[in-house]
Amino acid sequence: MAAPKVISRTSTQEELASDYKWGFVTDIEADIPPKGLNEDVVRLISAKKGEPEWMTEWRLKAYRYWISEDYREPRWSKVSFPPIDYQDIHYYSAPVKKEKGPESLDEVDPELVAAFNKLGIPLAEQKALTGVAVDAVFDSVSVATTYQKQLEDLGIIFGPISEAIQKHPELVKKYLGSVVPYSDNFYATLNSAVFSDGTFAYVPPGVRCPVELMTYFRMNSEGTGQFERTLIIADKGSYVSYLEGCTAPMRKTHQLHAAVVELIALDDAEIKYSTLQNWYPGDKDGKGGVYNFVTKRGKAAGKNSKISWTQVETGSAITWKYPSCILQGDNSVGEFYSVALCNNHQQADTGTKMIHMGKNTRSTIIAKGISAGQGQNTYRGLVKIMPTAQGARNFTRCDSLLIGSKCGAHTVPYIEVRNPTAHMEHEATTSKVSDDQLFYLMQRGIKEEDAQYMIINGFCKGVFQELPFEFAMEASQLLKVSLEGTVG
C-alpha cells in the first residue's frame, strides 16, 4: 500500500527560509456582490445558493439578532485589535465557473487545480495516492469532492453544506444550530447570517468511516471574509475522523474569518476532529494577518460517546477559539489537545470548555503554548461540573514555553464544581527552554538551533501524537518554519 500522502510540504531549506511560503494569489474572476451587510445581502447569499425558505428565514433571524443594540464582540479575551468595520467586508465570493461546472476532476478550472497543486493537494492523483477524501473549499464554494462514491456505498454523506441543505434538509434542519445556537456569540451569529459554504458529514449508525475526511480551507479573494459552517453528525455507534488544514495567501489588510463548527455524537459514537491552522500571521511588524474568530463546539449527546479535538495553531494574527465539548450523555468523553504558537506580533486567546452534565463523564485537556518574538499567548479554559455529573473527572495540563524576553504567556483556567463526587486536577507550568537540556544535547554534538527544535518538538509531542501520522509530520515541520529566526 502506498503511504498516504496528504499535503506534501516536505520543504527545502530555501523554502523554509522564505517568510510565508504559502502566500500567493490566484487570479480567478470572482463573483462578488458589493461590500457591506444588510438584509438584502443575506437574502442574496441565500438566493445565490438556491436555498429553501426555512434556511433564508434562519439566516435573517440571525442577522436581526446580530444588529440588535448592545450586541457586541466579546471583550473578555486578552487580545487587542482596531475595531472591525463590518460594512467594509465582502460577504460572498464564489469562483466564477467558466463552463457549466465540472463534471469530473479534469474539468475543474486549470488555475484552481494549479493553485491546489501549489498547496500540495494533488487533486488529480488523489485516488491513487491518498487515503483521504478531500472536499476542497476554495473561497466559499466547494469545487470538487472526491471519494464520494465509496462513501456513498457506506451511507456516509460528505460534501458541501449547501448541497446538504438541498438534499438532506431533514438532517440539517434538525442539527444546524443545535450545538451553537444562532444567538451564541457575536461572531457565531454573524456566521449564521452569512455563512457561505462549508462541510457537512453524516455517518450512519454502526459505520466506521474508512478514510479520514478532510477539508482544505483557503481564503482567496482580497478583502473577503470567509464564513464556513461545518456540521458533522456521527449516528449511533459510528466513528469518523475529520481533518481540517488551512493556509491563506498573503494580504495587506486584515481578513476576518468567523467560522462555526458543530459536532454531534450520538450513543457510542466517536468524532475526532483535527485542525492544522496556518493562516497568514501578518509580517514581522504585525501588519496584516488573519483574524481567526471561530466557534467550535461538539455535543457528546449520546451515552458512551466521545469527541476529541486536536489543534495545531501556528498562523493568524489573532486567534480567538475555544473548541468545546458538552458532555451530555452518561459516560461520554471529551478531549482537547492543542499546540498554539505566537511569534512576532501574533496574539492567541485559545483553549476549551468542558461542560460535564452526564454521569461518569471524563475530559482531558492538554494545552501547549509557545510564545516567541512579541507574541502573546493565552490559554483560557473552562471546566464546569454540573450537579448532575456524578463521578465526573477532569484532567487539565497546560504548559507554556517562552522564547525571548518580549513575549507573554498566560494561563486562565476556570474551574466550576457543583458536584462533590467530581475529581478535578489542574496543572500548569511556564518556563523557557531549559539550559540543562540544551547543554545535554549540545555536548553530544548537536547544534544549538537543532537542539532547541528538538526540545520544542518534545514539548509538543503529547499533542502531535494525537494527530494522524502525516499531519503530525507536517505539524512539526510547520512549527519549525514558524519559529524560524527566533531560536538559536
Partner: protein, 446 residues
C-alpha cells in the same frame, strides 16, 4: 422622580459624607483631599454591578451591598470586658491588643505594649502626632481607585491601627474589629497601616468578629509596607456572623529580600470578598500566602489573590484550601503576574476544595500572566469529596466511618493550620474549624 435602589443607596453615602464635614475639618488638608478624591471616585464608578461588573467580579454579585443602606454608628453599641474578649478570642495572652467596637476605639479592653524604637498606636492618634510620616504611607499602597470598597474605606475610615518599627517587635499585635448588635444594618471601615522598616519583624493578627446575628457590613483596608530584609507575619481571621457582608483589601508591598507570610482564616460572613494584592517591589522578596475557608449554609466567600512580581529573583507560594458544605459557594481567583525583566521568578499557586455537600459549589480560577522568559511558574487546582479509598483504608484498620471522615477533613485543614506559628492561635483555629462544620461535630460525638 423615581429612583433606583442603587441611586438611593449612593445618596445615602452622600448624606453620610456631608454629615462628617465637621469632623473632617479637624483633619490635615492632605487627608481631606484624599477623602474627597476617594469619594469622587466612588460616586463616579459605584459598585461593580450590572454593566460595571467585570471579569474580576465574575462569580460574585455585590448587589445586596450596593442596594442596601448602612448606618455609620456614632458610638460603640456595646461595652466589652477583658473576659469577653478572652472568651471570643482566647489566644492573645502576652500580645499587644487594640480593640475597636463599631469603629470606635475601646481603651478598656485594649493594652498596647509600647516597645522602644517602635510605634504601635491608634491610626487617629498617629495622624495627629506623626502626621508627615503617616502622610507618606497612608493610601500609598491601597490606591483609593482600586475599587468601590477601598474608595469607601478611604472616604469614611475613622480609626484603626498604625504600626511602625525598624527592629524586631517583641510581641505580636492583635487587632480586634468588633461589630455589636444593632437594630439596623451598620457599617464599619477599619483601617490598618503597618510600616516595617529595614530588618524589622512584625507579627500582626487581625480578628473580625460580630457580637450579634444581624446583618452588617465591614469594609476593611490593610496596608503593609515591608522594608529591606524585613519579616511580616500576618494572620487574618474572619469570624463575623453569617448574615454579614465583608469586602476587604489587603495590600502588602515587599521591599528587597523581605518576607511576607500570611494565613487567612475565613469561617464567617455571608457574602465576602477579599482582595489580597501582593506586590513584589524589591528583588529577592518572598511571599508565602496560605488560606483556609470554611463555608456552610448559604455563605459565599470569594478570595482574589494576586501576586505582582515586578522585580527579579522573587519567590511566591500560595496554598489555599476550602471546605464547603450545604449550599455554600467558594470562589478562588489567583493571579500571578510576572512583569518584563522579573527574571528568575519562582511562583507557585494551588487551590484545593473539599466538597461535603452535593449542593455546594467551588469556582476556582488560578491564572498566570507572564511577560518574562526566565521564570519558573506553575499552578494547580483540585476539587472533590473525601476520597472513598482513603475512608476505606481507615475503616479497614478498624476506624469507624465518621471518625475516618473527621480525620481526613482535619488532615486536609491541617496543611494550612500547621503553618500557624503561634501555638494558642493554632489550637483556637483547630477548634473553630471543628465547630464550623456540623458534620465534624457529629464525628466527634461518635
Amino acid at each position: 422622580m423615581t429612583q433606583t435602589p442603587t441611586a438611593a443607596a449612593t445618596d445615602r453615602y452622600v448624606d453620610q459624607f456631608n454629615a462628617l464635614r465637621e469632623e473632617r475639618e479637624k483633619e490635615p488638608l492632605w487627608l481631606r483631599d484624599l477623602r474627597r478624591e476617594a469619594f469622587d471616585y466612588f460616586q463616579r464608578m459605584g459598585w461593580p454591578i450590572d454593566e460595571k461588573r467585570d471579569e474580576a467580579w465574575k462569580y460574585t454579585d455585590v448587589k445586596p451591598i450596593a442596594r442596601a443602606s448602612f448606618r455609620l454608628p456614632d458610638a460603640p453599641g456595646a461595652a466589652l470586658t477583658d473576659e469577653d474578649i478572652v472568651r471570643l478570642l482566647p489566644f492573645d495572652e502576652g500580645m499587644s491588643r487594640v480593640v475597636f467596637i463599631d469603629g470606635h476605639y475601646a481603651p478598656e479592653v485594649s493594652r498596647i505594649r509600647q516597645p522602644d524604637h517602635a510605634s504601635v498606636r491608634r491610626l487617629k492618634e498617629a495622624i495627629q502626632q506623626d502626621e508627615s510620616f503617616v502622610h507618606g504611607h497612608l493610601a500609598r499602597y491601597s490606591a483609593p481607585h482600586h475599587d468601590a470598597s477601598v474608595a469607601l474605606n478611604t472616604t469614611f475610615f475613622r480609626d484603626g491601627v498604625f504600626i511602625y518599627t525598624d527592629r524586631p517587635l517583641s510581641a505580636p499585635v492583635h487587632v480586634v474589629y468588633v461589630t455589636s448588635e444593632h437594630a439596623d444594618p451598620v457599617v464599619t471601615y477599619p483601617r490598618t497601616l503597618v510600616v516595617a522598616g529595614t530588618n524589622a519583624e512584625v507579627t500582626l493578627i487581625e480578628s473580625y468578629v460580630s457580637l450579634g446575628t444581624r446583618n452588617h457590613f465591614t469594609d476593611p483596608v490593610t496596608e503593609i509596607a515591608l522594608g529591606e530584609g524585613s519579616h511580616v507575619t500576618h494572620y487574618r481571621l474572619l469570624l463575623e456572623n453569617t448574615d454579614s457582608y465583608s469586602i476587604g483589601h489587603v495590600r502588602p508591598c515587599l521591599g528587597p529580600d523581605s518576607t511576607y507570610k500570611s494565613v487567612v482564616y475565613e469561617a464567617g460572613s455571608g457574602l465576602m470578598r477579599l482582595d489580597l494584592e501582593v506586590l513584589i517591589e524589591g528583588p529577592g522578596a518572598f511571599a508565602d500566602l496560605r488560606g483556609l475557608y470554611l463555608t456552610r449554609g448559604k455563605q459565599h466567600l470569594d478570595n482574589l489573590v494576586s501576586i505582582d512580581h515586578a522585580k527579579p529573583h522573587g519567590k511566591s507560594r500560595l496554598y489555599y484550601k476550602g471546605i464547603l458544605d450545604d449550599e455554600s459557594r467558594a470562589v478562588f481567583g489567583g493571579t500571578v503576574y510576572v512583569q518584563p525583566g522579573a527574571d528568575k521568578t519562582d511562583a507557585y499557586q494551588e487551590d484545593k476544595n473539599l466538597l461535603l455537600s452535593d449542593r455546594a459549589e467551588a469556582d476556582s480560577k488560578p491564572s498566570l500572566e507572564i511577560y518574562a522568559d526566565d521564570v519558573k511558574c506553575g499552578h494547580g487546582a483540585t476539587a472533590g469529596a473525601v476520597a472513598d479509598e482513603a475512608i476505606f483504608y481507615l475503616r479497614s484498620r478498624g476506624i469507624d466511618e465518621q471518625t475516618a471522615s473527621r480525620l481526613l477533613i482535619k488532615g486536609f485543614a491541617s496543611e494550612i493550620l500547621d503553618e500557624v506559628g503561634i501555638e494558642a492561635l493554632r489550637v483556637f483555629l483547630e477548634e473553630r474549624t471543628t465547630q464550623s462544620l456540623p458534620r465534624f461535630q457529629a464525628g466527634l460525638a461518635a
